[in-house]
Symmetry: C2
Subunit: 545 residues, 2 copies
């Protein structure tokens, strides 16, 4: 059977736009003589549509557009991810479905059985689970349709959940000739490998080829990496669509298969993911121009490079905002970076407003020694200047804080936490350095002194991050153990040979900074557990251990 | 049977503190010769514990503390809301349970059957549904235990869900003598009435008395109103605990019953809810002092009154921050309010920093006419000053924006949206006026000119909200129809006799402001659909109708 895999980048809620993309892909499949065109999960609405699903008039339009798509399937079969109304209206009003369209008509629906409701997924909020696996006769081929999570239980790779049923096991007695899977499986560091592992295991168990179509593109915080895949009946990976781009893959399941070698470069993927996340956040909203503060430090340098890659150098503005505490080297580094990138810069000293704040607050502050207040004022003046440029000239402000800082609360609310998008808020300092090396792999774009100097916020004389923070290597280890593995203070200390005081201090900082993160800009998720999406902790709570 | 209803205010994650409260209540019940002490849902952890539930070491401590509590039940029965591990570990690892403790031992668990997963509720993220209703023999009395949502399906008052089972219907053949319900049912405007309606309907159907113990207190955005209730076998309300306070209720189900009259004052309840929300946000974090900007307008006036009621006048600081556009009347109104409340004020002109921003930005802004940028700068200077006072002196900043503004995006990110808590962000302008009248019911606290003058942000000469916004009465109607009822533009226009253009404009503003709300401070939820909790819409999306 010839299957045309359409790895598309839908926009959430853009039903007419997504419909047109789908119809165009069906047309492409027909030109390529495919029998089936396979789409990703909820491709018609984009994933995740969130509470749009609760609007009855949204579902009316979904049905209307699906009907339009069906009309365009003359002589071909299309399998399209879409929400559909649950005709029983018990317990939830919708299913997360695959519509099978053929020859201009709707043949039927397969409803997703396993509904992830953990981390960034809330599918039980909207959907009723489907009732069972079945075999579709598509042009005489026995095809089993599955949706994303349906094939994951079989590999025991699901988090926080052990599903009661395993649709792959259910299919064992059903003698399918081909398994199709519609996915919207978001990127995280080694997710593409695990996804292939899952597809491979299912194919191997059923001794049946499996074709997986994954969503590509970024929606708010979630980045989808694509990498749609074809595994043969041995479970070998035979073909893969591109990562981080729309792509099409024509697969003929009747030809001889040859396993493909995949050697994934995790850091290249991380870079591509962030570029895509930035790009889609801008393009899908119709924005073009970004501005960011250039401090001469590594975080803003990496974000500037990502922004140039995503938006083009002519659309990125670097703003230098020196104070009495800025070192001349930082200014040089920032200008050198800007020159290497070919981006425009502006320079605005924050001394005048800083002075005027200190003056008008002198009465209130009388008798109080300088403290973090004065540091925050500087950071907030910078935030304010960026927002003013944004308001006046239509730039979107990029926030440049990394995950280690966000975890420790080492950032100023309404200061460096200003911005429309937090580009690297899910990238630890460790990985920021790795990204900087990757960016400099061919020639030096980020000045070496930016990379080599000890991190500093430059908000008081001779300040270093290490004055008030533990080593980033330690912070980053604790972050992973605590956020992703849910280990306790005692367990983290024991595993890594740290003192319990040190680990307790870091975890205390994580919880005390919850209120800041609640007001942080949306960030691009690239790890298994991001702070700003998929992690839900109360602000006011007492369990910190 | 004598049942002692312990309507407690637990703190999230404060396992030792909550344990002590529970043990003390059991002791009180014993003194009152009760046979059973009934607690609220998840009283041991506080509701909602959110992702704390995913930490294995959190569950270890829960089990340990429950064991401690059990030891304190000699000669008495305690029914305590607690999460418990699902021994089958399928599909979710926990149940939302009621532990039945008697004579120092754990008798068994009842597991909640209906798990709300909509709006502010995410119970499917953590819990597996319980498998069925059962009858407990408690001192010879046949008792059915239910948890919150379990009794709601029977009244058809559940949103976005029609459960497959109705535990009240299941109980019909089981001949219970008494129904107990452990609740954590959050406040919204007429929720207490609906909760009594639900309890009453269940009691009436089963012809059995029902005792409901509800949580009281506020946790982040969710306010729990208490109002625990006893309905007799006719479904008549016989007794009610206090609203918005911890309370105990001794009920003897064997004495003759006399229906009680309830006349609820919705505006008094709203006022109490906001005071409790503010109070708990402060007290549970160990904060005492609040500051807020006093503009002379009605929103900041109402928030100041709520803060004084919640924290005491000596703990509230009003900050006047006039600019060239502030009217002398606004200043007079603000000072008069402060005097009426007896709170301290400070006055800091924003002219100096405003000038210095305009000066240092003059190059960047050359050729651009003044626009919203200059207005935002003023609002942001004010936010910055409040944050500086907060940083230096330990005040928590209260954000004073109302729901109508938040809906329309009529607020400045990092400006008036600064703050630790948004006190009235779920109160529409219409209800802000009602609160002001309520506050002034005995004597004038909020100056009448504050109430009577047309709303203005005073960010440019002679500015009025009505220059750029539709009438608040219209906005507020559309907000309810769109947020709570999910009506479309066409339906809202038809229902209210508005033009479709007008409604589409308002709904467009709602969606365009999503990015601002994502970075707004946490707000107290008092309606059926708050912006900042329980509503999940993508920022980047195209379905706006």
């Amino acid at each position: 059977m010839k299957v045309f895999v359409a790895q598309l980048n839908p926009t959430i809620g853009d039903l007419p736009g997504n419909r047109d993309k789908i119809i165009e892909a069906i047309h492409q499949g027909r030109l390529q003589k495919a029998e089936v065109v396979l789409f990703s999960e909820l491709v018609l609405t984009g994933y995740p549509p969130e509470d749009l699903l609760l609007l009855p008039h949204f579902m009316d339009e979904v049905e209307k557009e699906l009907h339009e798509i069906a009309k365009n399937t003359v002589g071909i079969i299309a399998i399209v991810g879409t929400p559909r109304r649950n005709p029983d209206q018990k317990e939830k009003f919708l299913f997360n479905s695959a519509a099978v369209l053929k020859n201009g008509a709707l043949v039927g629906y397969y409803d997703k059985m396993l509904l992830p409701t953990y981390d960034v997924f809330d599918e039980h909020r909207y959907f009723e689970p489907g009732v069972g696996a079945k075999i579709w006769n598509l042009n005489g081929v026995r095809v089993a349709i599955t949706i994303c999570e349906d094939i994951w239980q079989h590999s025991d790779l699901v988090n926080w959940t052990i599903y009661r049923s395993d649709p792959i096991a259910d299919l064992e007695t059903m003698r399918a000739d081909l398994i199709l899977n519609l996915s919207a499986s978001p990127y995280s560091l080694d997710k593409a490998d695990r996804r292939v592992e899952v597809a491979s295991k299912a194919a191997e168990t059923l001794m049946t080829p499996l074709i997986l179509c994954n969503q590509v593109g970024s929606n708010d915080s979630l980045i989808f990496d694509g990498y749609s895949a074809f595994c043969d009946a041995n479970g070998d990976l035979i073909a893969s669509a591109k990562g981080f781009k729309e792509d099409f893959l024509l697969i003929d399941t009747d030809t001889e298969t040859k396993p493909m070698e995949v050697r994934r470069d995790h850091i290249a993927d991380l870079y591509s993911a962030l570029v895509l996340g930035l790009q889609d956040y801008f393009q899908k909203q119709g924005f073009q121009k970004a501005c960011l503060g250039l401090s001469g430090g590594i975080d803003s340098a990496v974000v500037a490079c990502l922004a140039v890659e995503a938006l083009g150098k002519e659309h990125v503005l670097g703003v230098l905002m020196p104070s009495r505490y800025s070192s001349p080297e930082s200014r040089t580094d920032a200008l050198e970076l800007a020159q290497n990138l070919g981006i425009e810069t502006e320079e605005i000293s924050i001394e005048q407003p800083f002075d005027s704040y200190l003056k008008i607050l002198s009465e209130q502050f009388y008798g109080h020694p300088p403290d973090v207040t004065e540091e925050n004022i500087q950071a907030r003046i910078r935030g304010m200047l960026l927002m003013a440029i944004s308001n006046k000239k239509g730039y979107l402000v990029l926030s440049t804080g990394n995950k280690s800082e966000l975890g420790m609360g080492y950032s100023t609310l309404y200061g460096d936490l200003c911005g429309g998008l937090a580009v690297i808020s899910d990238v630890t300092k460790t990985w920021v350095y790795a990204l900087a090396s990757y960016i400099n792999r061919e020639k030096t774009i980020i000045p070496l002194s930016t990379i080599q100097k000890p991190p500093s916020a430059e908000l008081r004389p001779n300040q270093k991050d290490s004055d008030t923070l533990p080593d980033y290597a330690i912070i980053d280890t604790v972050l992973v153990d605590y956020l992703e593995e849910h280990l306790s203070v005692a367990e983290i200390a024991a595993r890594n040979g740290y003192s319990e005081e040190l680990v307790a201090d870091i975890i205390g900082r994580i919880h005390r900074a919850e209120y800041k993160r609640r007001q942080a800009p949306p960030g691009l998720r690239v790890s298994e557990k991001a702070f700003t999406v998929g992690r839900r902790f109360p602000i006011v709570q007492k369990f910190i251990r």
